[in-house]
């Protein structure tokens, strides 16, 4: 009927209109470029970031950086620009207060805001950071720090020793405890001098003070802000907090009053993008300039014009662990058999397409006192594995093991391959899986009902103690890290001695022994070391600032 032609035309018109709108809005006009920064006017990635762009997509952009009274002299510093660097992070930015949030991703962000007392130099020695004049170890348990005078927080207040005391003591007993738990108290000796007294001799303690989590906060700012402190964090660092669009990004801008070298980029925006495909897409479209890539996305950017791929070592590894409390793994032959049955090189290639390295020691090679470079990778010999199994008294299919893995992609793939390998030598494997929290709560917390597991570990500081203590000292058995449930007095003693000593040689010897014990007895069979693959625009000089600790010095990054 003729009247329906009208309705139908109306419908078709609407559809076409909608499509046209989409098409038209895709056309870039001059006015678009001036709008929100998410409309990056550089579809050809590689073009310089426009200086006219608004750094913060959030509506409440904080006031511009403090009016510089001396801009002329600042510009003469080496290479300072007005550009914005957009960085993608693999996980949520959970918080900006180190006391509550210690994860690596949040740490990368607030690492630009706060400054810790110590840092590493080019030779990997621990030295004073830019806010410390000098420091020395007075006795076994006392460290004296002289602070630089005149260091200003972002709110203009001066940093005093009381702030140091405040920042360190507040972390005791919290998520930061692994860094400051040894502190008995901090003694303020003057405005710019303090003593840090720890409970007992600890050679690993100073390494903890290089961590971004021990950055110095302003006591006054925290007290004033109360629970809302995180929404406006104050530090002494090279970047100031501008805004935090929950669930999207955190924006920082250059601290023009910074006491040290001014960072190159004017603004840093950290985006939280948990999905790897989305990250790669965002990089390709130019919405972010630097992004960590999943192994499968690396090839997209390796040869793409305008992009570079930078690979960096990390402190992380995947390993196969054995439950010390399980009866079935008590026999060394069984553990040996399991280790021989697994081809770690093949797994590394399969899981990561070559973007990881085969592991040797239980400590990642970049961690101090790791013997990774002197150790051979796990030997693969299926025949020998079967023979050992038979010697241990198990025939084909007699041994049944419970394997715990969680649902993270890499752990699952390694776990599945492990099961295959074990099946091939005649071991039956039952897999228990669930999300990490559930597995921790159900299995690791009690140390029962499982025989072997696949785990990942990321060493929290460059010092071996932070990994060894938490994974093998009997006091840590449980869901916090000691999934092995090892309970050996000799091992505990070695770990404690190594931690207490300040003598590098003594410590090296002890850690060597600890690693060899664990490796030879196969309580951990390291599989692979994680290698971070970063995709970035060609102009960004990314490689120098990447650190295996996982905390990258974004304030030092420059353009090429």
């Amino acid at each position: 009927m003729k009247t329906f032609k009208t309705l139908r035309y109306l419908v078709c018109f609407m559809l076409i209109a909608a499509l046209s709108l989409a098409v038209l809005s895709g056309c870039k006009t001059a006015s678009d470029a001036a709008q929100e920064n998410t409309q990056d006017s550089a579809p050809a990635v590689g073009a310089e970031q426009e200086s006219a762009q608004d750094p913060a997509p959030a509506a409440d952009v904080e006031q511009e950086s403090a009016q510089d009274p001396a801009p002329a002299s600042d510009e003469e510093q080496k290479g300072v620009s007005d550009e914005t660097l957009k960085i993608a992070l693999e996980s949520n930015i959970a918080g900006l207060d180190p006391k509550t949030t210690v994860d690596r991703y949040s740490g990368n962000v607030y690492g630009c805001i706060y400054e810790p007392l110590l840092t590493y130099d080019e030779n990997d020695n621990i030295v004073a950071s830019s806010i410390v004049e000098s420091f020395k170890q007075v006795d076994d348990v006392t460290y004296n720090f002289q602070l630089v005078k005149g260091i200003k927080f972002h709110n203009g207040d001066e940093m005093k020793a009381s702030d140091v005391k405040f920042s360190l003591e507040r972390g005791i007993g919290t998520s930061m405890n692994y860094l400051v738990g040894e502190i008995d108290h901090v003694e303020v000796l003057g405005d710019y001098e303090c003593n840090i007294i720890i409970k007992s001799a600890n050679g690993a303690f100073l390494a903890g003070l290089t961590a971004v989590q021990t950055g110095i906060l302003s006591e006054k700012a925290v007290a004033e802000a109360g629970d809302d402190y995180q929404l406006n964090p104050i530090g002494t660092g090279p970047y100031k907090f501008v805004s935090w669009e929950q669930g999207v990004c955190v924006t920082l801008e250059r601290n023009e009053d910074y006491h040290g070298d001014a960072p190159y980029y004017k603004d840093l925006v950290f985006y939280e993008i948990a999905d790897s495909t989305t990250r790669a897409n965002q990089l390709e479209v130019g919405e972010v300039t630097v992004a960590p890539l999943a192994a499968t996305d690396v090839s997209r950017f390796e040869n793409a014009p305008g992009y570079q791929v930078v690979k960096a070592n990390t402190f992380g590894l995947i390993y196969i662990g054995m439950n010390y409390r399980s009866e079935k793994t008590q026999d060394q032959k069984v553990r040996d058999a399991i280790a021989y049955a697994v081809d770690t090189a093949a797994i590394t290639n399969a899981a990561y397409l070559g973007n990881a390295s085969v592991a040797t020691a239980i400590l990642s090679p970049n961690v101090t006192y790791s013997i990774a470079d002197e150790t051979a990778p796990n030997a693969y010999d299926a025949e020998k594995a079967k023979a050992l199994l038979a010697e241990a008294g198990y025939g084909e299919g007699d041994l049944k093991l419970t394997l715990v893995i969680d649902t993270r992609g890499d752990v699952t793939s390694v776990g599945t391959m492990l099961k295959e390998y074990l099946n091939q030598i005649g071991i039956e494997v039952e897999i228990k899986t669930g999300d990490k929290a559930t597995m921790s709560g159900s299995y690791y917390a009690n140390g029962t009902d499982y025989d072997i597991f696949v785990g990942t570990w990321y060493c929290a500081t460059p010092d071996a103690n932070s990994q060894i203590f938490t994974t093998f000292h009997s006091s840590c058995n449980g869901a916090t890290g000691g999934y092995c449930w090892m309970n050996r007095p000799e091992m505990d003693q070695m770990i404690e001695d190594a931690r207490a000593s300040s003598d590098p040689e003594v410590r090296a010897e002890l850690y060597k022994k600890i690693q060899e014990t664990v490796q030879n007895e196969k309580w951990w069979v390291p599989v692979l070391y994680y290698v971070d693959c970063w995709g970035a625009s060609e102009d960004v000089d990314l490689a120098p600032i990447l650190s295996p600790t996982g905390y990258h010095q974004w304030w030092k990054i420059t353009a090429k």
């Binding site: 949520n92 405890n177 989305t278």
Partner: protein, 332 residues
């Protein structure tokens, strides 16, 4: 009518209590220690214990629940996230409006396009147009939103560079996620409208109106549609309720800070206050949506209006359903 509304709003309270209690019970029962999860790997046993006490997790289940409830009712305080210590209310304030906007616009798109298409298909039943429309509707209903989202993203954003791939503040940013999420509501609305209209068009009174000499347009849109609109309203309400729960994958793909992401992360981290706050928020929204739809019924259908104005009851869903059914069946 006002009394009815007040009664329904009051009924929200026991609903929310029940929902929050159930959710609290379930998430407490799930394995995983929130204190340990909040502190992360490498925390010492004492630190975990201290945290547990700090969070009140060492207290009996009922006390914990009542504490939470007390804070909510008397101080309007939903507590702080275990993981980040940021107030739950603040996070809800930041995340929830985005989901509201996304879901609202998706459903609106579904209605704006689906309903006219459905009407046209019903009027032109069995025609080519009808068949095409119904095929598309079938595809739209069966295709998961995230597949469509990814395809659209790859096509319009990465390849053609027409639209931005993420964010949710400008209009252009909203196009892709709203369209991706709106496909299903569109398809369902189209089908629902079509079937409802078909039923109504066959009724005798439509013939009467035609016999009056009324224009076909007025017959269909003015009379037939008004009678057909109730099932469509129901569908719209249900669609909105479903989407409010959080379109997790769509939000992840388009980097929209929405409730789906927030709640999934919260559950993974066993972040009790955040989960509870979020669930209460969703439950309230769904309940209010249903209430609005019910009130809308009364505006559309005078028979239902009469029921509302009449004697009490009709508060509980089964009573309401019974009344609705009785009202709809023709008397003989």
């Amino acid at each position: 009518m006002i009394r009815y509304i007040i009664r329904r709003v009051l009924f929200l309270i026991p609903t929310l209590l029940l929902v929050s209690f159930l959710v609290f019970a379930i998430i407490q029962a799930a394995p995983g220690d929130p204190a340990q999860l909040a502190l992360g790997e490498g925390a010492t046993a004492e630190a975990v214990e201290t945290k547990r006490q700090e969070l009140g997790l060492d207290q009996p289940f009922l006390i914990q629940y009542l504490n939470w409830l007390g804070n909510v009712i008397f101080r309007f305080d939903f507590g702080n996230s275990y993981r980040s210590n940021i107030s739950v209310a603040y996070q809800i304030q930041n995340y929830f409006p985005n989901t509201l906007k996304l879901s609202g616009m998706a459903v609106l798109l579904g209605v704006l396009i689906g309903v006219p298409i459905g009407i046209a298909a019903a009027v032109k039943q069995y025609s080519v147009f009808d068949n095409i429309v119904m095929s598309f509707a079938m595809i739209g209903m069966s295709m998961p939103a995230f597949v469509l989202a990814l395809v659209m993203l790859l096509l319009f954003s990465v390849t053609l560079r027409w639209l931005p791939p993420s964010g949710f503040s400008t209009f252009r940013q909203m196009i892709l996620p709203v369209v991706a999420l709106g496909m299903q509501p569109m398809a369902i609305c189209a089908r629902m409208t079509r079937s409802s209209m078909l039923e109504v068009i066959r009724q005798d009174y439509i013939r009467t109106i035609r016999a009056k000499g009324q224009t076909e347009l007025r017959v269909i849109v003015g009379h037939a549609f008004k009678n057909a609109v109730m099932p469509i309203l129901t569908t719209v309400g249900l669609q909105f309720g479903a989407l409010i729960g959080g379109a997790f994958v769509t939000e992840t793909i388009f980097l929209i800070p929405g409730f789906g992401r927030l709640l999934v992360t919260a559950v993974t981290n066993r972040d009790y206050p955040l989960v509870l706050g979020g669930v209460v928020c969703v439950a309230m929204t769904v309940a209010l949506t249903n209430l609005l739809i019910d009130i809308a019924y009364a505006f559309v259908d005078p028979r239902i209006r009469a029921e509302f104005k009449g004697a009490g009851g009709g508060v509980f869903p089964w009573q309401k359903l019974k009344k609705l059914v009785l009202a709809m069946t023709p008397e003989k």
